[in-house]
Amino acid sequence: MNYEDEFKQFVNAYEKSGYVSNNLFSPKYAKLIVNESKVLSKGEVEGVSIKTRFKNGTLYAKITIKKGVKVKYPIHMCFGVLKEKWNQKIHTTLILEEGAEAKMISHCFFPNSKNVFHIMKGNFILKNNSKLIYEEEHFHGKNGAIVKPHVKIKVGKNSFYVSTFKAKRGVIGKLDINYKLDVGEKGVAELYTKVFGRKKDKIKIYEEVNLKGNNSRGILQSRVAATENSQCNVKSVMRGLGNYSRGHVDCTEIIEENGVVSAIPIVEVKNKTAHITHEASLGRVNKKQVDTLMTKGLTEEEAVEIIIRGLLR
C-alpha cells in the first residue's frame, strides 16, 4: 500500500474510533502520527522539535519544547495499529525546557485488534518553571489489546504536570499502567485515571508520586468501573518527603455483575512537616444514587449507566 492510501485508511479508522481528525491536517498543530512502527506524519511548530528513529523493533521519539516556549495549540500524538496482530513498541522522551508550556493529546487506538501489543516506555522531563497538560485516551476495539504504558516523569522546581488517562470505550483487554513521578520544590503533579472494564478485561494500575521537593503537591485520583467479568487492581503510592509537601490519594472503584476490584493505597510520610491523605471507596454503585435516578423514571440499568458515565467523565 502506498503512503497516501495508508494515511487515508489510518485517518478513516481514527475517525471511526471516535476522534476528530481536523487537527491532524492543520499546520498549526505539532504532531506525530504512527501506524504500527511507521511514522505516517510528523509536524513541528516553532519551538517544538520532534525527532524519530527506528531501532531494534522500537520507535524512538524525542519531543523537545524549547526554553520559554508556550505552545499555543495542543501537540497531537497518535499511535495506532490497524492490523489485527502487531507488536508496537514506542519509546518516548519528552522534554520541556525551562519555562516551557504545552498541552499534549495522545490517542492510542487499535480498532481491529485481536492480538495487538502496545508497549510504551516514556521518560518525561519537566524542567524548572514548566507546565504540561497531558491527556491520553485509548480505544482498543471490540476484542481488546495488550497495552503497557510505563512512564517516568520528573517534575522540576515550580513546575506543573497534570495527566489524564482514559480508557472508557470498547474492550480494553490487558492494561498495565505504571507511572512513577518525582516532584521537585513547589512542583505540582496531578494524575487522573479513568478506566471502564468490560468482558474479561484485566487492568493493573500502578501510580507512584514522590513529593521530594519542599512545598510540593500531588494528587492521585483513580475512577474505575469493573463490569461483567473484568478485574482491576489499583495501587497508588504517595510519598511525602519534602518539607511541607502535601498529597492526596482518592480512589473510587465500582463493580457490576461479576467484576472484581481491589485498591491498595500506600501513603508514606518521611518528613514530619509533610501531610498525605487518602480516601477509597470500593463496591457496587451507591444505592441511594440509583434510587434517586429511578424516581425520575429511569430503570435500574439506565441509572447505573448514568452514574458510571459521570464517575468516569
Binding site: R223, T252, N286, K288, Q289, D291, T292, L293, M294, T295, K296, G297, L298, T299, E300, I306, I307, R309, G310, L311, L312, R313
Partner: protein, 233 residues
C-alpha cells in the same frame, strides 16, 4: 376526589413495625401536610408511596389503580415524584444534565427554573457533586420536581437545610406548583411550613392519628411534642 389512598400499610423492619396499619387518603389538588416528630415513620411513608421501600402488608392506590407492586420508575412515569430529605450528590453529572433526566428541556428552561429555586443561572454548568452544599442540592431537587409537572409531589422535609429567608420563597414555589395542578404531600416535623396546607394529618408511632385542618393539627402536634419531650426526659 381521592388521588392517593393507602390502606392498612405495614412496614416491618428488624427493630419492629415502622408503619403500623397506616391508612391515608389524599385528595386531588390539595396540599396535604403530614406532621410528626422525628422517628414516627414519615420518611418511610414517603418512600413507600414512591416505591423505594416495600410494604409488608396493605394496599396503595393511585388514581384508583393498585400500585402496591409497581416499580419506582413506573410510579415516576405515572406522575409521582419525590423530593428526598437528603438528596445524594453525583460526581461528573452537571446540573443541567441532571434536570434533563426524564425531561425534554431547553437550556433556557433550565436557567429559568434554577433562578426560580434561588440558584444562579451559571449553576446549570456546575457538577452536582460534593462541592454543592446540602441546601443547594435540595434546591436542585426542587428544580427537578418543577421540571416534571407531576400529578403528586411528595416533599419530604423540603425546608430542612434551607435558610429562614428562603422558606417564604419555598412556600411560594410549593403553592405555585399546586396551582398548576400538582397535588402535594408535604412531610414535615415543623409546624411553620405546614401552614400552607389545606389539610394536615398528625402522624404518631407509624400511624395517622388524626386528619383535620392544619391549625387544629398543628396545636395537637405541639401537645404531642411536649408529651414526647416528657417521655424522653
Amino acid at each position: 376526589m381521592i388521588l392517593l389512598s393507602l390502606k392498612h400499610i405495614i412496614v416491618k423492619k428488624e427493630r419492629g413495625k415502622i408503619l403500623d396499619r397506616l391508612s391515608l387518603n389524599v385528595n386531588k389538588g390539595e396540599i396535604h401536610a403530614i406532621i410528626g416528630t422525628n422517628g414516627v415513620g414519615k420518611t418511610t411513608l414517603a418512600n413507600v408511596i414512591m416505591g423505594l421501600e416495600k410494604v409488608s402488608n396493605g394496599r396503595i392506590k393511585f388514581q384508583n389503580k393498585d400500585i402496591t407492586n409497581l416499580s419506582v420508575s413506573k410510579r415516576a412515569k405515572i406522575g409521582i415524584k419525590i423530593l428526598q430529605q437528603n438528596p445524594p450528590s453525583f460526581e461528573g453529572i452537571k446540573i443541567r444534565e441532571y434536570l434533563k433526566v426524564g425531561n425534554e428541556l431547553s437550556i433556557k428552561d433550565i436557567k429559568r427554573i434554577l433562578k426560580k429555586v434561588g440558584l444562579p443561572e451559571e449553576y446549570s454548568e456546575r457538577f452536582l457533586d460534593d462541592t454543592l452544599s446540602g441546601g443547594e442540592r435540595k434546591r436542585v431537587e426542587i428544580a427537578s420536581i418543577l421540571t416534571s409537572n407531576p400529578k403528586l409531589a411528595i416533599l419530604d422535609e423540603p425546608d430542612s437545610g434551607i435558610d429562614m429567608l428562603s422558606i417564604s420563597d419555598l412556600k411560594k414555589i410549593i403553592k405555585e406548583l399546586n396551582k398548576e395542578g400538582t397535588t402535594i404531600l408535604l412531610i414535615t416535623h415543623r409546624g411553620e411550613i405546614a401552614k400552607i396546607a389545606d389539610v394536615a394529618s398528625l402522624m404518631c408511632n407509624g400511624k395517622i392519628k388524626k386528619t383535620g385542618n392544619p391549625k387544629e393539627i398543628s396545636s395537637l402536634f405541639k401537645k404531642e411534642c411536649k408529651n414526647e419531650l416528657r417521655r424522653r426526659v
